[in-house]
């Protein structure tokens, strides 16, 4: 050993990758000026999927809170937008407010749901989603079971409307990804994972689990609520049985499992894969869903850390460094290189 080993979080290559990725994120704002309007609409859909996948990943992958009821927030966000728009709030303002109201819903549900562990929590969240769907379906002002349109956006020319919706969606996506990154990068990141792996052992090391789980649940609630509101702004029409449908949970599971659960980058990759598959194979109906299920099971069994583990383990840097590594000085090697040399011992 040449001297004291050092804890490093990011080398130069990683910092470059992170800056590059941030710049790319900002460049995406230019898309409506460069591409056709259907591309803009497609990318809006992709952004909402990215939001959903990273929210479910931070909740289930990092926090161990496996929810199969995030569609409760999707539907709530969408219907809150409709509710506000019906009361003459500008639809885009309504979308932002709906995300805030989703936070209120999450705060209200947290004391009930976070009491439950494991499978109970999963079922509990699903029950909440079904109950909300029933409540909405019974409300004639919200269109009942047949669905409702978002009015007020037809004042804009279609191309501009799609551009505005895209910009708002992209802004939400980037803001939420930054929030997740900050949460994972700070000392809360390791604490969340410690609580996931063993809550009592985490407590013995000074971690208070309650507030962390609460924060995760509210963040995921806001994110999924925003995704629901933005989905409505993108499609302009929703029905309770589709926006509150449990198929959303299946999609979330697919994106996160295939992309790589418990990594920051994986779910983003998973969202892209899911988006492409949906685009190519959705016309096969039930067979498409069966295929999705089989692929997800395959990944869970044979590649539990997802597609990102194929790419990420080979890269000499992290795209977004949320972890830690110990390396030997002098600091000549790259982060990834020393990770492997140390782990081979």
């Amino acid at each position: 050993m040449t001297g004291p080993w050092q804890v490093v979080r990011s080398g130069r290559a990683t910092r470059l990758a992170t800056s590059g990725l941030s710049a790319f994120g900002l460049l995406l704002f230019a898309v409506p000026f460069l591409f056709r309007t259907d591309v803009v609409q497609q990318l809006t859909t992709l952004c909402t999927l990215v939001i959903l996948a990273s929210m479910w990943n931070v909740l289930a992958g990092y926090g161990g809170l496996v929810s199969v009821g995030q569609q409760a927030f999707l539907g709530f966000g969408a219907y809150a937008t409709v509710f506000l728009a019906q009361r003459d709030v500008h639809p885009y303002v309504a979308v932002v407010l709906a995300a805030g109201l989703s936070a209120v819903l999450a705060v209200a549900l947290a004391p009930l749901l976070l009491r439950l562990r494991g499978g109970q929590f999963a079922v509990g969240t699903w029950v909440v989603a079904e109950a909300l769907a029933l409540l909405v379906a019974l409300d004639e002002d919200l269109g009942g079971g047949t669905g409702v349109s978002l009015r007020g956006l037809n004042a804009y020319a279609p191309d501009w409307r799609r551009a505005y919706t895209y910009w708002l969606t992209l802004a939400f996506t980037l803001a939420l990804l930054v929030a997740v990154f900050v949460l994972l990068r700070r000392r809360t990141g390791v604490a969340i994972q410690a609580v996931r792996d063993d809550e009592d052992a985490a407590a013995a090391l000074g971690v208070r689990a309650g507030p962390l789980k609460f924060a995760l649940f509210v963040l995921a609630g806001v994110g999924c609520g925003a995704a629901g509101a933005l989905t409505l702004a993108n499609t302009l029409f929703i029905q309770p049985q589709s926006i509150f449908g449990v198929q959303w949970s299946a999609y979330l599971l697919f994106m996160v499992l295939v992309g790589g659960i418990g990594s920051f980058e994986g779910p983003i990759l998973g969202a892209v894969v899911f988006f492409l598959l949906q685009d190519w194979f959705a016309q096969f109906g039930a067979w498409y869903l069966i295929g999705l299920g089989l692929v997800a099971i395959g990944f869970a069994l044979f590649r539990p850390r997802g597609l990102w583990s194929l790419a990420g383990d080979r890269l000499p840097f992290r795209l977004l460094p949320v972890g830690y590594a110990l390396r030997e000085p002098p600091a000549t090697g790259r982060l990834g290189g020393s990770r492997r040399s140390a782990s081979r011992q």
């Binding site: 050993m1 004291p4 080993w5 050092q6 804890v7 000392r187 390791v190 604490a191 994972q193 410690a194 996931r196 792996d197 063993d198 009592d200 052992a201 985490a202 407590a203 013995a204 090391l205 000074g206 971690v207 208070r208 689990a209 418990g262 972890g323 830690y324 590594a325 110990l326 020393s338 990770r339 140390a342 782990s343 011992q345």
Partner: protein, 240 residues
């Protein structure tokens, strides 16, 4: 000198079953106290009460003279009571280093460079440097035990509670562990150590407490306690 850790009249009942009965003892700063006794004597329950994992039905726990009977485990960890579990409980999905980072950033409340320095030092002390970037679930028993100790030390404890950390190890491995615990002691940290392997224990501790059926039946110098007729009867057996 004020005791760093003190239990007074501690009682725990599970339903009608008394597990601890009026247990009292003190640990002076920097002192190493061993706890022995047959299975079911209440040793682990006592440790749980000290760590805050079990709320006593009677009595008080004091740390630095302060009543902490109602403090949560995470609060006690931050005050300076470190704990290593009987069966190591690593955070399997995280690396060895990240396991220790949890303790340094939360238990010790260190940030940035100071936290990193603490982690590197503790891993070095516990012989885990070359395994730092491995996932904790891939470690074998000895390394898991070392990690358990490393995490506990990274919280910067003033007293550590060790629960049978020598169990399941070979003699050579146990000797290594003794060396590590000795090092902890020489740094001025008080130790409360439950251990069945008495010859390992007496190499480190200044004092021995023997428990049986929820009571302290002897408390004093190791040689005297091990020679005590009551202790021999309850724990060591007549044949030896």
């Amino acid at each position: 000198m004020t005791a760093v850790l003190e239990g007074r009249d501690l009682s725990v009942r599970y339903g009608d079953l008394p597990v601890l009965r009026d247990v009292g003892f003190t640990v002076a700063p920097g002192e190493a106290v061993g706890i022995v006794g047959p299975n079911g004597a209440g040793k682990t329950t006592l440790l749980n009460v000290l760590a805050g994992a079990v709320r006593p039905t009677g009595g008080t726990v004091r740390f630095d003279g302060r009543d902490i009977t109602r403090a949560r485990p995470d609060q006690r960890a931050r005050m300076g009571i470190g704990r290593a579990f009987q069966i190591p409980r690593p955070f399997g999905g995280m690396t060895v280093l990240e396991n220790v980072v949890v303790a340094a950033t939360h238990g010790a409340g260190l940030r940035g460079h100071a936290a990193h320095r603490r982690c590197a030092d503790v891993l070095d002390e516990c012989g885990l440097t070359t395994l730092a970037n491995r996932r904790a679930e891939s470690l074998g028993l000895l390394h898991r035990k070392r990690l358990e100790l490393a995490r506990c030390l990274a919280t910067g404890p003033r007293v550590v509670l060790l629960d049978e950390i020598g169990g399941g190890l070979t003699d050579a491995e146990a000797a290594e562990l003794v060396a590590a615990v000795r090092q902890v002691r020489s740094a001025g940290t008080a130790i409360v150590w439950i251990e069945h392997i008495v010859h390992v224990l007496v190499q480190v501790v200044d004092r021995l407490i023997c428990m049986d059926t929820g009571r302290v039946i002897a408390d004093g110098e190791p040689a005297r306690v091990l020679g005590d007729a009551v202790v021999i009867d309850a724990y060591l057996g007549r044949t030896s």
